[in-house]
C-alpha cells in the first residue's frame, strides 16, 4: 500500500515534470499552430479585411467560393499538377535511385550531382529555369530546335506552362531519390541471390523483391508528394511574378489563396479557401491510405 502511493506520487511528479519540460513545445504549438488554425476557421465565416475587426457573415464566403470560376480553375490547375507531377517525380526518383545503387567507380560523385539540385534554394532554381525555359533562346528550346523537334512557348503558352512547371519539379526530386537509395540498400542481398538461383529474370527480381521492399518508401513519398503538390505555390509565384498567367493557366490554389489574402485583403475568403484545401487534402490522403496500403509491405508484414 505504502509503495503504491509512493509510486503514484512519483508518477504524478514525473507527469508534472514531464509536462513542465514539454511545456515550451506545448505552449508553442497551442499559440502558434492550434490558435491560428482555429482562428482561421472562425475567420472563414467572416468578412475580414485585416485592419478592421472581422464581421460574421455565416456561409457567405463559401457560397461565393462555390460560384467563383477562378476557384474551380485554380483547383483544376492544382489537380493537374498533383496528378502528373507526383507520379512522374516518384518514377524518376526511383529510376535514378536504381542507377545510383550500382557499383560503379565514382558513384559518390554521381550521387552528389543528382542530389545537388534539391539543395539549391527554390527561388534561385526557379530563376534558373526561367532562363532554361525561355521560348526564344532558352537552352531547352535550343536543344529541341537542334533536334528538329517542336519548340513550345513554355511559360508564354497556356498549354505548356503547367508541363513546364512539372518538368521543373522533376529536377528537384533528389530528396526522394535519397530516400529510395537508403531503402534499396536495406534490401537483403541473399533474397536476390536466392531468386537468381531460382532463375528469376531481372524484371521479376525488380517486381517481386525490390518494389515490395521499397513500397513503404514509395508510399511515404506518394503521400508527401501529393500533399506538397496540393500546396504548390513558390515556383508558380516566382515564375509568373505572382500573377499565375498566362490566362490563369498557372494560377494554382495556393497562389489564388495568397492573392486573396495578401493582395486583395480578403482574409475571410482566403481562410475559407484554406479550409477547403485542408478538407480536400485530408480526403485524398485518406483515400490513398485506403487504396494503397495493401500494396505496402513492411518487412514481410502488410
Amino acid at each position: 500500500m505504502k509503495t503504491k502511493t509512493k509510486r503514484s506520487t512519483t508518477e504524478r511528479q514525473n507527469l508534472r515534470n514531464g509536462l513542465l519540460f514539454c511545456s515550451p513545445a506545448i505552449i508553442g504549438l497551442a499559440t502558434f499552430t492550434l490558435y491560428p488554425v482555429l482562428a482561421s476557421l472562425y475567420y472563414s465565416f467572416c468578412n475580414y479585411p485585416m485592419l478592421k475587426p472581422p464581421v460574421w457573415v455565416g456561409l457567405a464566403n463559401y457560397h461565393t467560393l462555390f460560384h467563383d470560376p477562378v476557384f474551380y480553375k485554380s483547383l483544376s490547375n492544382t489537380a493537374y499538377y498533383a496528378v502528373l507531377a507526383t507520379p512522374l517525380g516518384i518514377i524518376t526518383a526511383f529510376f535514378m535511385a536504381l542507377l545510383l545503387n550500382q557499383k560503379v567507380k565514382g558513384m559518390a560523385i554521381f550521387r552528389t550531382m543528382f542530389f545537388v539540385p534539391s539543395i539549391v534554394p527554390m527561388v534561385a532554381g526557379v530563376v534558373l529555369w526561367l532562363w532554361l525555359l525561355k521560348s526564344d533562346n532558352g537552352l531547352i528550346n535550343i536543344i529541341l530546335g537542334a533536334m528538329h523537334l517542336p519548340t513550345p512557348g513554355w511559360m508564354s503558352d497556356p498549354l505548356w506552362s503547367k508541363p513546364a512547371l512539372i518538368l521543373m519539379s522533376i529536377w528537384g526530386v533528389g530528396g526522394w531519390m535519397l530516400i529510395y537509395l537508403a531503402g534499396l540498400q536495406d534490401v537483403p542481398i541473399d533474397l536476390y541471390e536466392a531468386a537468381e538461383i531460382d532463375g528469376a529474370s531481372p524484371m521479376q527480381r525488380m517486381l517481386h523483391i525490390t518494389i515490395p521492399f521499397l513500397s513503404p518508401h514509395l508510399f511515404f513519398t506518394l503521400i508527401m508528394g501529393f500533399i506538397g503538390a496540393m500546396g504548390y505555390f513558390t515556383q508558380a509565384f516566382v515564375m509568373t511574378s505572382g500573377k499565375g498567367g498566362p490566362v490563369d493557366s498557372t494560377r494554382f490554389f495556393s497562389l489564388y489563396l495568397f492573392q486573396n489574402a495578401f493582395m486583395y485583403w480578403k482574409m475571410g475568403y482566403a481562410c475559407a479557401m484554406a479550409w477547403i484545401l485542408f478538407i480536400l487534402v485530408l480526403l485524398f490522403t485518406l483515400f490513398l491510405f485506403k487504396t494503397s496500403a495493401r500494396f505496402v509491405h513492411y518487412g514481410g508484414e502488410r
Binding site: 479585411p49 485585416m50 485592419l51 525561355k134 521560348s135 526564344d136 508564354s156 498566362p246 490566362v247 495578401f262
Partner: protein, 463 residues
C-alpha cells in the same frame, strides 16, 4: 533587476531561498548551477534593457518606412541627411521595408499591432485603399495649419490623395506615366526618319510593320508590344485613356472598364497579338530583365513607354542608347498627350507616435521649396509641388524636361477607390484573356467591370 541581486546573496548562505520550487529541500549542485545560469541570463537581459534606456538620445527620432533598395536607397539617405542637418529638434531614421506595390503585409501588421512607423511611403494609387482600411490618418488639419492649397500641386497628384473629402497623403514624387520612347538607331536602320516619332496610333502601326523583323518564325525585333507597358493593367490604363476611355466614375462609384473607348483600346492592343502570334511575342519578351537586359535598351523593341526612373537606368546600363522621348501617340479623335500620374506619396499611419514630427517631415519633403529641391536633386524625382524651385531646374535637364512637359499636361490618376489592387488584378487578367484570344475584348472588360464592381460594393458596404 534589484529584486534579483539579494536573491543570489541569500542563495549563498540559505539553501531554501526559492519558495514553491524546492521547499525545504537542499538544492543539488546541478540545480544551483541551473538557477545561477538563469539568473545570470536574466541579469544580462535586464542590463541590456537598462543600458538601452539610459543611452536613449534626448532628441526624438522618428522612423520612416520606404520601399527603395539599391541606388535610390543611398540617395534617399542623402535626403534624410539633409533633413536631419536642417532640423535640430528631432531626427529621422529611414527603414527599408520592401513594399509590393499593392500590398504591404508588414506595414499592415504593424498598424494592427499599434506599433506603426511614424511616417511611411505609400504607392500613390493605393492611398484610397489604405485610407479606407484605416491604415493611415487624414492630414487636413495639418494641411490647413501649414496653409497648403490644392493648387500648389499638379491636379492629378492632389486628386489621387483625396478620398471621401479628406486628404490622406502628400505627393513625394510625381511620375508622369509615361513618356513615349523610340530608338533612333533602329529608325535609321529601317529607313525611317529618326527625328519623327509616331504621333498617332495609325503612324505607330505603320512604323511597327517597318521595324518588326521575323526570321523563320522567330521574332528578332519588334516595333512595340502594346500590352507589355509595365504590365497588362498599366498598359490598359495608358492606352485606354489615350483612346478616351474611362475606368471609374467617382460620383456614382461605378466601375466603367467596359466603356466602348476602353474596349477599342483593347481591340487595338489585341490586333498586335493576332498579327504576330501572342505566344511568340510573350515568349520573346519573357525573361528579359528590367535593367541591363531591357529589350528597349538592347534595341530588340524599338518603341514603348518609358518611366522616369529609367533615365538613370539607361545612363548606367545603356549609355550609348540613341533614343528620343515624346508624348504618347493617340488615335484619331483620341486624347493627345495622354498620361496619368504615378509615384510615391508620404502618409502618417494610424497610431503614429509622433504625428507632429512626421508631418514636418512630410511637409519638408513634399511642399518645402528647399526640401522638394533636395529630393529632386538628390533622387532625380519630379516633385508633385509644382512651384518647387527644382521644377525650373528640370526644364533644362535633358530627358527630364520631357517628363515635366508630360506632367504639366497630365490629366489622369488611377481610380481613387478602395478596390484598386483588385481592379489592377482584374484588368491584368482581362488583357491576358483578350490577347490570348480566350475572350472577346468586350467580354473580358465586362467581366473585369462586373467583378471589380461587386468587390468595390463589398468594401464600401463593410464600412
Amino acid at each position: 533587476m534589484t529584486a534579483f541581486r539579494p536573491a543570489i546573496i541569500v542563495a549563498k548562505d540559505e539553501p531554501g531561498w526559492l519558495p514553491g520550487v524546492v521547499i525545504g529541500l537542499r538544492p543539488s549542485a546541478k540545480q544551483i548551477c541551473l538557477m545561477c545560469f538563469l539568473l545570470a541570463a536574466s541579469l544580462v537581459l535586464c542590463a541590456g534593457c537598462a543600458r538601452h534606456k539610459s543611452s536613449a538620445p534626448a532628441t526624438v527620432v522618428i522612423s520612416v518606412w520606404h520601399p527603395w533598395g539599391g541606388a535610390q536607397k543611398e540617395r534617399l539617405a542623402e535626403v534624410i541627411k539633409e533633413f536631419n542637418r536642417t532640423h535640430k529638434d528631432f531626427q529621422v531614421r529611414a527603414v527599408f521595408t520592401p513594399n509590393d506595390l499593392d500590398s504591404n503585409q508588414k506595414f499592415f501588421t504593424s498598424v494592427a499591432a499599434d506599433m506603426p512607423p511614424d511616417a511611411t511611403f505609400v504607392d500613390g494609387p493605393q492611398v484610397a485603399a489604405w485610407a479606407e482600411q484605416g491604415a493611415i490618418q487624414p492630414l487636413d488639419s495639418f494641411i490647413k495649419a501649414s496653409g497648403i492649397k490644392p493648387s500648389d500641386y499638379f491636379p492629378p497628384c492632389w486628386a489621387q490623395n483625396t478620398y471621401r473629402g479628406k486628404v490622406w497623403a502628400m505627393t513625394y514624387c510625381a511620375d508622369p506615366n509615361f513618356a513615349f520612347a523610340w530608338n533612333k538607331k533602329v529608325f535609321r536602320d529601317c529607313g525611317l526618319d529618326p527625328e519623327k516619332p509616331p504621333t498617332t496610333i495609325e503612324e505607330l502601326d505603320l512604323m511597327n510593320d517597318r521595324i518588326t523583323k521575323i526570321d523563320h518564325g522567330r521574332i528578332v525585333r519588334i516595333g512595340i508590344i502594346p500590352w507589355l507597358q509595365f504590365g497588362n493593367a498599366n498598359a490598359m490604363f495608358t492606352w485606354g485613356w489615350a483612346f478616351r476611355g474611362s475606368f471609374f466614375d467617382p460620383k456614382t462609384q461605378r466601375v466603367t472598364a467596359d466603356d466602348p473607348n476602353a474596349v477599342n483600346a483593347l481591340e487595338w492592343m489585341v490586333s498586335y497579338a493576332k498579327k504576330f502570334d501572342v505566344t511568340r511575342i510573350n515568349g520573346f519578351a519573357a525573361g528579359f530583365g528590367s535593367r541591363d537586359q531591357n529589350p528597349f535598351y538592347t534595341g530588340q523593341i524599338a518603341m514603348g513607354c518609358l518611366h522616369i526612373s529609367q533615365l538613370d537606368d539607361i545612363k548606367q546600363y545603356a549609355p550609348d542608347l540613341d533614343y528620343g522621348l515624346t508624348f504618347l501617340p493617340a488615335p484619331a479623335g483620341g486624347e493627345e498627350h495622354s498620361s496619368w500620374v504615378g509615384g510615391w506619396c508620404l502618409a502618417i499611419p494610424k497610431g503614429s507616435k509622433h504625428p507632429k514630427e512626421a508631418w514636418e517631415f512630410l511637409r519638408w519633403c513634399c511642399r518645402d521649396p528647399k526640401g522638394t529641391q533636395a529630393v529632386g536633386r538628390l533622387q532625380s524625382l519630379l516633385p508633385g509641388y509644382r512651384k518647387s524651385p527644382y521644377i525650373e531646374e528640370v526644364r533644362s535637364k535633358p530627358g527630364y524636361d520631357q517628363f515635366l512637359r508630360i506632367m504639366e499636361e497630365c490629366r489622369h490618376q488611377r481610380p481613387v477607390m478602395p478596390a484598386q489592387s483588385f481592379y489592377m488584378g482584374s484588368l491584368d487578367r482581362a488583357v491576358d484573356y483578350a490577347v490570348y484570344g480566350r475572350m472577346s475584348c468586350k467580354e473580358a472588360l465586362s467581366k473585369a467591370t462586373k467583378e471589380t464592381q461587386s468587390e468595390l460594393d463589398l468594401r464600401l458596404a463593410g464600412r
